[in-house]
């Protein structure tokens, strides 16, 4: 059963058994650790909080509301014509994370801006929702934690935030109602 590989070195049945037993043991241990790690991932009831429906009709022009989706604040702002124009006019070269305003709103509904209201830096909630709150230099939102500024399209204009405020998946279920948490293709499940 022994076989010579290099001078003075042989592979014995014992080497083979040690190696295979060790490998099986290592894989088994890894599989045993996984349930412990996975138990810390979001549980089924947390995952079940999938969609939130919002009626937009009571929101006046220039007003913003905050709703909750999956435990996160969602900013919905009914933008004024001036705010839309400001967002569309901004040259791409001035943006830290370039993205045209048209990519961040639904076609023909560009007065409605829907954003996850969490600063992309370290997760604080920016101010700018209430009419009298600090909206920063770009009329959007201001993050009190580390000073990031967002414009009227929710795009980052001054760091440390690395990216724009995230637009969550949502669809217009009719003219004035939206459902947050589903993409266009899976409307009205």
């Amino acid at each position: 059963m022994t076989k010579a590989t290099a001078p003075g070195k042989t592979i014995t049945r014992r080497n083979f058994l040690t190696l295979t037993a060790g490998a099986v043991g290592a894989i088994g241990t890894a599989k045993l650790i996984w349930p412990f790690i996975n138990s810390m991932n979001p549980s089924a009831d947390v995952l079940a909080q999938s969609t939130t429906d919002v009626d937009l009709s009571p929101i006046a022009e220039g007003q913003g509301i905050t709703v909750i989706w999956r435990g996160k604040p969602i900013f919905i702002r009914h933008r004024t014509k001036q705010e839309i124009a400001e967002a569309e006019r901004t040259p791409m070269a001035d943006l830290l994370d370039p993205q045209p305003d048209s990519d961040r709103v639904k076609k023909g509904k560009d007065q409605w801006l829907v954003l996850i209201g969490i600063c992309t830096h370290l997760g604080c909630i920016p101010t700018g929702q209430a009419p009298n709150s600090n909206r920063g230099k770009y009329d959007g939102w201001y993050c009190p934690c580390h000073g990031s500024l967002y414009d009227t399209s929710g795009r980052v204009r001054r760091g440390p935030a690395p990216t724009n405020l995230v637009v969550p998946p949502y669809v217009f279920t009719d003219g004035s109602n939206i459902r947050i948490g589903v993409e266009e293709e899976t409307t009205n499940v």
Binding site: M40, V46, G71, L122, C124, I125, P160, P162
Partner: protein
Amino acid sequence: MSSKVTRISNWIDYRLPIISMMKHELNEYPTPKNLNYWWNFGSLAGIVLMVMIISGIFLAMHYDPNTKNAFDSVEHIMRDVNGGWFLRYLHMNGASMFFIVVYIHIFRGMYYGSYKYPRELLWILGVVILLLMMATAFMGYVLPWGQMSFWGATVITNLFSAFPFGDSIVEWLWGGYSVDNPTLNRFFALHYLFPFLIVGVVFLHLIALHQHGSNNPLGIDRKEPRDSIPFHPYYTVKDLFGLGIFAFIWAFFIFFAPNFFGEPDNYIEADPLVTPPHIVPEWYFLPFYAILRSIPHKVAGVLAMVGAIFVLFFLPWLDTCKVRSAKFRPIYKKLFWLFVVNCFVLGFVGAHSPDEVFYYLGGMSNQELGQITTILYFAFFIIAVPLLGMFEKTTPLPASISEPVNRGGDRRKKSRQEAAA
């Protein structure tokens, strides 16, 4: 009577040699005779750790780690539980005391070169203890479920989103899409566990310490028997005296200024929809928080903050100077104190908003002050310390520990001998 006690202790020791081990580590353990009061802080740290564990266990008997009840259960401890206010203020101020003691202990090690050969692993174990302490303190601060608890937890856990697969890591840490009940539950479980891990590493720290014994203010090795004295009773008494003064200061905060180190915002219950206008961590994290904020790039900021602690792991190899004590290193001594001042300025930066402008500093913004002090912090370790190791001219070392200590006595003895002759 005493012979009976001796017989019993001998019976035990023959089977379980704890008595002879204690005797060996305390009575016979030789300690340099010239240790000053800066050497008190190691034993103080051990005592604070014990007090924190005991007070924590008793607090846990009344605390409820559920987002609906956590805030109220802390108020229940404060108002209803017999002596609950004392236990909580002891524990809460104990965290600050622990960091004061440990930071002094670390600065002591840096000043007297205690991290150098052959105590590199002793130093590294100390840095591991510091990291475990930071994690424990952070999770403990979340438990009262106030506004600062919640938003501190949100900001710090989000640091992990800077890394690859960051979003999945952060959701795994939270057990959800935001800091919520699963997060509070696991933080409580881990806050209870980590102090015992610290105890384990402290034991390794002590084993490493007793291998080569304490460093001393002269930074030279013990050479002759008269350089050493037994730890007990000499340093047990000296440490107890230091403990008396320290306990006095701790008690002052517990009884007269219990919320001195805290943030008023943490007496407002956590609200996931409102970020306080100014989030600040506890004072002991401020210098590191300042480093994080000074760098206007997410990943680089996180790496700099982590690096500010990890650089300590490499200190034994960054410093190539063979002389340990700053007493004999004139330039290092000055730079060391500038480094200490710089750490305080970083703490100041961390406590203020990034947009603040200081007119008495020629209109410098807090952001710029933070950037300058961050560069100075790293420059100390990465530029100054290695260069000094190469070029600094050290002053002559004494021949032994006893030489400078006994110089007067030796001279008197000599003159007496001469007079006799």
